[in-house]
Symmetry: C2
Subunit: 156 residues, 2 copies
DNA sequence: CAATATTGATCAGTATACTGACTATCAGTA
DNA sequence: TACTGATAGTCAGTATACTGATCAATATTG
């Protein structure tokens, strides 16, 4: 009988579980209250002014129904503003606030330390190899989830 | 600036997301309605008669507050029975039903095909290496999540 | 340009995960 | 045995994820 430890699905779940716990612990110790998902969204909003929610979802591979709540919480924390888009009255244009920028800047060391802790059982070479293999498997499976990654031409 | 693709946390989330989608698609096509989490719980209950919920949680690294709902749903589907433990009046003794056994047997091909699809971008060697590195990283981080894996002496 | 299709956002409902609290019970010890 | 501490299970509350539906607005096309 196949052991759990031979199931990539089980290993995926477990690694993710640890990754989230480590992220929350590091960020929490640094005095911030931000989830991994909120962090990625905030960083992406900062990098792409006037981003709408669907495009944001595509850039970080979130489901469009999930992004609504994530942005809600970022807005509630005062890190992001949700305005009406000037080009499309259906869309919201997201903008990072000054406090969002400040938070992002101050939180970075904790985020990077979290990434290191997740890989602490591996040598640097192994860590690189793990990331390479994950990237490759993810690229091949991108279209299999409801929320695939979408690279977008943003200068439009 | 660090790209998402250099963040093990982001890759972990993404790989897990694809793994769950693939599992649900394969199992659904085979005519079953079972999540990855429910499947692992069911298989573990089958392998360990009279298992209590905390031990079950430890064997598959679920949070004890999560296991309640998972077992609820297995019971509701008629795949598991939740009895009073003969030894400890606090505990529940979980038993797989005949239908649970049948389901587990018939669902196995779909589960294995799902595991293969998750790795379809990788060669066999790369797939093995990915699992090895995940196992190693997970072992090092086991205690960092609220729901660590607990290997238990079950013949007690 | 009118009918149709598509798209951005949200909502209701379900299923993990986790935090923190609580009850009932058990185990160890003074 | 009475006290203390630990343990099994559950619950309320919050945050991802996803399914499927809906509404409003935009695009497409006959």
């Amino acid at each position: 009988m196949k052991d759990n430890n031979d199931m990539p699905g089980h290993l995926a779940r477990r690694f993710q579980q640890i990754a989230v716990a480590v992220f929350l612990a590091e960020v929490g110790e640094a005095g911030f209250d931000l989830t991994p998902v909120q962090y990625a969204a905030l960083a992406t909003i900062k990098a792409n002014p006037e981003l709408d929610q669907v495009t944001l979802a595509g850039l970080i591979a979130y489901d469009r129904t999930t992004i609504t709540g994530v942005v809600d919480r970022l807005v509630q924390k005062g890190l992001v503003e949700r305005r009406a888009s000037p080009r499309d009255r259906r869309a919201r244009a997201l903008e990072i606030t000054d406090e969002g920028r400040r938070t992002l800047r101050k939180i970075t060391p904790a985020v990077e330390s979290a990434q290191a802790i997740m890989l602490r059982g591996l040598s640097a070479r192994e860590g690189e190899e793990l990331m390479r293999l994950l990237r490759k498997a993810i690229a091949a499976g991108n279209e299999l989830s409801r929320a695939p990654l979408r690279e977008v031409d943003l200068k439009a």
